[in-house]
Symmetry: C2
């Protein structure tokens, strides 16, 4: 049976990126060697990582003065690296969900944190910019809440570096990189298998803290060695390159934005129309990447039945996170429109049966 992969992460990737990776694990471009067994200092891998860095720069129109790094350790390691490298005394964190909360927890090891939040995560704080202390060392945002399904699709102007965790909506729309000090994220949503973290960092914001930074946690270590201070995650970086190529072939980040918007609009419309379901977040804050919905009040006892029905039809990963319940359809770049249409079809079918 054909599967429709709505996983929240690790998640669906372009088929051609997966096919190329599988081929390369058998034989990398006719070298007679597996991608898994080439040296990270070989000319083959040097070409791969350089092309990936350049393509990311091209696709996002990253200005001069920024470095593109591919590291290990996940976004969770960045939660510590960001304050290690940037915080002298104080930072502001926009608390838009569970991952923002985890970033805040780490930042508190290093200094004072202004935690800007709503009472819950079903909407984004409004007018939050005014709450950022003018003497903060940086302001940190988490652009997409993978769990509750909100998204902040706006670039902000501050008189301090803006640091953004874009793990779950990176490369799904254009961003004005010049407005950020650091953009980082785990690549396992829109770009690669789990294991590689992207970091786009503006060099002039570094070197301004007094603390000693362990070598591997210092961004300058990785900038100086161009992501080759130690062995990088070779296979995930290769897939990332193939995904970037697919993005380029499909209209770049503008093309991705169009795809994402079209698919998300279709599904949100159905959620609004369908008597059985309702969305969970404020309309203006809806994520295009993680579309969360629950059963309407009078149909709540049908939740498990719809889940089983969807599973029997080949839908994977649509269970909502345990802190929200209901359903979550993750709509990353590589998710085909057909999968969204198929989901809408079964929502309609289930409605016919039950309403």
């Amino acid at each position: 049976m054909k599967k429709h992969n709505f996983n929240a992460g690790p998640s669906i990737l372009p088929q051609q990126a997966l096919d190329k990776t599988a081929e390369a694990i058998k034989d990398l471009d006719g070298t007679g060697l597996s991608l898994a067994s080439v040296s990270h200092r070989s000319k083959e891998f040097d070409a791969i990582i350089k092309e990936a860095q350049q393509l990311m720069k091209d696709l996002l129109e990253i200005p001069e003065g920024y470095h593109v790094l591919f590291l290990g350790g996940g976004a969770s390691l960045q939660f510590a690296m960001v304050p290690y490298n940037l915080m002298n005394k104080k930072a502001a964190y926009l608390n838009t969900g569970n991952w923002a909360k985890k970033a805040i927890k780490e930042a508190k090891f290093f200094g004072e944190v202004k935690d800007i939040k709503n009472d819950d995560y079903y909407s984004l704080p409004k007018g939050w910019e005014k709450e950022v202390p003018s003497d903060a060392d940086y302001v940190h945002i988490t652009t997409n809440n993978t769990i509750f399904g909100t998204e902040l699709r706006q670039d902000f102007d501050f008189n301090m570096p803006v640091v953004a965790d874009m793990s779950s909506d990176f490369m799904s729309r254009p961003v004005d990189v010049s407005k950020y000090g650091i953009i980082y994220g785990g690549a396992q949503k829109n770009l690669a298998p789990a294991g590689v973290t992207f970091v786009i960092v503006r060099e002039d914001i570094l070197g301004k803290v007094d603390r000693k930074i362990p070598t591997l946690l210092d961004y300058n270590t990785h900038i100086e060695k161009d992501s080759l201070f130690h062995t990088p995650p070779v296979v995930p970086i290769y897939t990332l390159l193939q995904t970037l190529k697919w993005i380029k072939e499909n209209g770049g980040v503008k093309g991705m934005e169009k795809r994402a918007k079209e698919k998300a609009d279709m599904l949100y419309s159905e959620i609004e129309r369908n008597k059985l379901f309702k969305g969970t977040v404020a309309k203006e804050d809806r994520s295009r990447m993680n579309i969360c919905f629950v059963m309407n009040e009078e149909y709540q006892d049908l939740e498990k039945e719809f889940f089983d029905f969807a599973t029997s039809k080949g839908f994977v990963g649509i269970k909502g996170h345990r802190s929200v319940g209901g359903f979550r359809a993750s709509n990353y770049n590589a998710l085909p429109k057909e999968s969204v249409e198929a989901l809408i079809d079964i929502m309609k079918e289930f409605e016919k049966q039950k309403a």
Copy 2:
């Protein structure tokens, strides 16, 4: 042309592990999903990581009270995590090479380091155990010097935790795990593609430092969540499992030791016999994993010619590290005996041409 992969790391892996990985990237065990796109919280991945942990415990006869973790960030992140978690005031480090030196550099961020070393890295310090201060919090060893080609194949008794970086000889011989507090390493030599770090840690040595530890750098975080605190490197862990299965099918770590010894002995004998070449390290300290040799004095101008000759015959990765020069033949578990025989053949052929 058939390639003989003598890369020092990332390096050769069992063909069946690579084949299984390539298949799984296309379709994981008939699930209709790519290994790269399954959730790390799915039952499929849960079975994979649990089996890998159990198999490692079985193969190394790891006693109760130890945890097997699969993390990101490489051995270089462990250089900081070890002192973060274990050092109150002082630690002893056996300095057997460049990687030991890097571990020492990080440890110095956290306290005092007794740096135990020889004048150079061509042999291992003798009687070094006596130099370990009795009030050290732990003693750290690096069992194999990948660059110079020495190896410490001995388990030590100390009245403090022994921490071992076994990145480049792990699973190539039995070790008595009960004598270690932590065994760690990057898996990209004998086990998996780059991107996953193995850590075997005895739980009772933790929680004895006063400092606050960032969440991701705290071993207890990963123990409590059984390596699933955040998204682990799914694909490298899958390959690691396949490699462990191959090790089991081939006699376990005793089988690996026999293979390694046989292949290393063959090559060292040829280096000794052949007029053109000579080994670089003290005989009693020779590594079975990284076999380093240079041209004999009178033939030194032939170095490039032999390298080109070997390259033309399909040999990959035999150039010595720039700090040693000459040649390095890495003899990891998966390197077939035929590749060692082929190397010996061309050494003989070259000798016939030149001597």
